[in-house]
Point group: C2
Chain length 501, copies 2
């Protein structure tokens, strides 16, 4: 048994090496690669992905998992070996159920679709992407159909990134959240708009970067096992548990861009850096779901990084860094500026409160596309109608409408968006729980001390990697299933105070 | 036939993708990787190398080559397809002749040996590396013995990097060169030492880098298909023909370090950038030998970059870049400083004239180790003795003696050094030939124009990649076999003038 487990681990490690190599190639492509390298680089990454996939779906892996099942069954559920076998089995079943030819055809289509979208978006050309999107919807359905027994055709796709979540359960959560958000947004946006001009002054790039890095170092992001570089879109990437990198982008005239994307990505990265080192290179050595991952980034970005106590400590330092820009701006003005709520068209620029409305629109529309109740041809108008209904705004074009996000044009339709809002909901849940365990956390945050919070997350979330599903983790941490109430309370308290509601 | 050729190319492209991915991982490791990434990175690179090797020595590749042989035979020697099949066959035979288990054991040993050396060198501890070096000598012999029929046991090892060269032919060349060098060095070093203090002032790093980059851009290095970063040891690396990068290191107090390493590496890089784009990802898409590669780097570093005409154009610009340091230093003083000849202990710091003596010492000692006429225990003293004989110096320790170069401690003993001096010899040969074809080249160099020289190299050397062996290339370009005379003439003319001999 020991020998079979060793062989399984050897195979998994090889696959992980291939996938991590591909991640390095992607990082290089987005940070430093000269333009001349682009053509070969795309091919190199897909070669690595193909070989990794071939090696994983090898029947020998299935055989090893079969042989090891009785050993796993003899162990406690949370034993490392049992968990490794369980999680690998799940991944194996998932990947082997989709025929390799279907997957290859989809990836090929996906890459083409992405190219078409990248050109069509600036040109505001929905008709160019429509046939590709139709094919993507078809592929998404075909892939979902590889998992018979679903209640809703989106369920298998949602399950890829948020295990055990279903269209129905997400819909129920979102409906509850929506009921709270719509009136909250309405009463906030009925007021005079907050003045956030203080954020829109010239802020030198190097000082912006240095300040953000100082904060995340204090958070607990380990620069000996990571680094930060600049990319067009910020992201976190991991090459091993000892090398978890983040990227950001800097706008000279918008202080919030680099700063909050840095805090956000550091949350993702601290999660990965905090995973039990013995899981490195194994399927357990990754964050467990899209929602849990997002909860960690949003917690450090919002619950901490946009809180008043945090800035009570850091604002004098920020003023000292940018005296010309901020010396005459009060903490209160600054705090209101970074928490300004407004109706807007672009998801990625949205504030904490309206952000979820953007996500729900996409979630509902992709379900409708998959169900067939909405056609690709009618999607742009459905998009506009829903934005008018929820946010009272209509995009002047498709560029800032249905073409704004890459997800549907470079991946599946279905399963890509719910994680953002699930993450928001969970971030409040976990933060609440940490405060219950350590009521001194707010005091510490006000002193620029993050050790207690970081240690609590490390203990309760980070270290487990993928050992527990999102639902299991939530049950373990809170003693109850996922609930939305702490998040609604958080929004009501914070924005009630801010907007004197 | 067409289908088989396509299949061969698909397989070769996949292997090239794996090797190039490994090169990206290595580049990242030496440029930006945080220290925490080191452990996993070493394993990731060896996983990629192992999979690439497995895929190349697959009998199916041999079968394809067998099946394609008649097609290759039906084509002219220099036809692209014939050349691809010929070069791939050669590589295949070379790699399949060494058993995979032997190779794997050697790589494993090599990695350990490197670690031991990296620690032993600063500690001046030869006894720590001696048992590893003995094993390396044994492995080198075993690997050489996989190629029976050699005249000298070093021949197969030399052949790995400099095809068709043999211990005997290299020895003959080196003996001839030695006869010319020893008296030249003697008469130069009998004179008062050249004053090169002008190079040893504080030179700000960013200006050093910017100046070097400006020069190599003018040379013809294409920054759209490459970039320069900083590493501990300068090198050139390639991820595809569209992405050929160089690295350098900067010493604030030594202007020559970054500058000449930049010119040197740009020569390697322009060679690779100049290869026929249709060879990308194929075995033809690489420089053809260690000697030819070094000839290209040395040509741009020395024949061009250390010439008087070059600096007649660039020295005023250098003075304008560093007015405080150089305004009062004459061109002649500067020119003499960058061409200062002196007896020294360290190969990588040696000047153009003495450099070859360092190489010959190593070449002769590694042959003696392989033959068994010199024991690993006696190596340090043999090193000292030879340095005293050839350079009149004895290193005070092993650190700057037998431990100074990584080659024997991280690779084979045999075949690693001759390329440096072969490159020097060939650089003069090619430069001479270019001048014969275009007598206006020196005038152009004096105007900072490099187009004619670059185009000649592109036409005669670069584009062919590995289509021709070094010897074939030399025959094609000069109409005669490799000769040492142009190099000796070059040294006598340049240093005769400099030192008024």
């Amino acid at each position: 048994m020991e020998k079979k487990l060793q062989e399984l681990k050897m195979r998994l490690l090889e696959i992980s090496d291939l996938n991590n190599a591909s991640a390095v190639l992607n990082w290089d492509q987005t940070t430093y690669m000269p333009s001349g390298g682009a053509a070969a680089r795309g091919r190199q990454m897909s070669t690595l992905a193909r070989i990794a996939h071939e090696k994983f779906v090898d029947p020998a892996v299935g055989k090893l998992l079969d042989d090891l099942q009785s050993y796993a069954d003899s162990l406690p559920y949370d034993h490392d070996d049992a968990s490794l076998i369980r999680v690998t089995r799940r991944n194996y079943d998932q990947q082997t159920k989709v025929p390799s030819t279907l997957l290859a055809a989809f990836f090929q289509h996906s890459a083409e679709s992405y190219q078409v979208w990248a050109k069509a978006r600036p040109e505001n050309d929905y008709t160019a992407v429509a046939p590709y999107l139709q094919k993507t919807v078809d592929y998404s359905r075909q892939i979902a159909e590889c998992f018979p027994g679903y209640d809703h055709i989106a369920d298998p796709l949602i399950d890829f990134s948020d295990q055990d979540m279903k269209a129905e359960s997400v819909r129920a959560l979102f409906a509850e959240l929506r009921q709270a958000l719509i009136p909250l947004v309405k009463s906030i946006t009925a007021q005079t708009e907050v003045d956030d001009n203080c954020l829109h002054q010239p802020y030198p790039e190097n000082k912006q970067l240095a300040f953000g890095q100082e904060v995340i170092k204090a958070y607990g992001y380990d620069f000996n096992r990571g680094r930060q570089d600049k990319t067009h879109h910020p992201y976190m990437t991991k090459f091993s548990l000892g090398d978890v990198r983040i990227t950001t982008r800097v706008k000279e005239n918008d202080l919030s861009e680099a700063l909050f994307s840095t805090l956000h990505e550091s949350g993702h990265a601290m999660y990965e850096q905090g995973i039990d080192m013995s899981y490195d290179g194994m399927p357990l050595g990754n964050g467990t779901s899209s929602g849990i991952h997002e909860s960690q980034s949003r917690l450090w970005e919002n619950q901490v990084g946009r809180s008043r106590v945090f800035w009570q400590h850091y604002y004098p330092q920020l003023q000292a860094t940018f005296p010309e820009q901020l010396a005459s701006v009060s903490l209160d003005t600054f705090y209101r500026a970074i928490n300004k709520v407004q109706r807007s068209l672009i998801r990625t620029d949205a504030d904490e409160v309206t952000y979820n409305l953007h996500v729900m629109i996409r979630f509902d529309l992709e379900l409708a596309l998959l169900e067939g109740s909405l056609s690709v041809a009618d999607l742009p108008e459905a998009w506009h109608a829903r934005y008018e209904q929820d946010l009272g705004l209509r995009a002047p074009d498709h560029r800032d409408g249905v073409l704004q996000d890459v997800h549907w044009y470079g991946g599946l339709v279905g399963g890509a968006f719910q994680g953002y809002t699930l993450g928001n909901i969970m971030s409040a849940l976990f933060f609440d729980q940490a405060l219950k365990a350590h009521p001194n956390i707010p005091t510490e945050l006000g002193q620029g001390q993050f050790g207690t919070l970081h240690a609590w997350l490390q203990q309760n979330i980070y270290q487990h990697g993928s050992k527990f599903t999102a639902n299991e983790l939530i049950e373990r941490v809170t003693g109850a299933p996922l609930t939305i109430q702490p998040y609604i309370n958080y929004l009501h308290t914070k924005y009630g105070e801010l907007y004197k509601l």
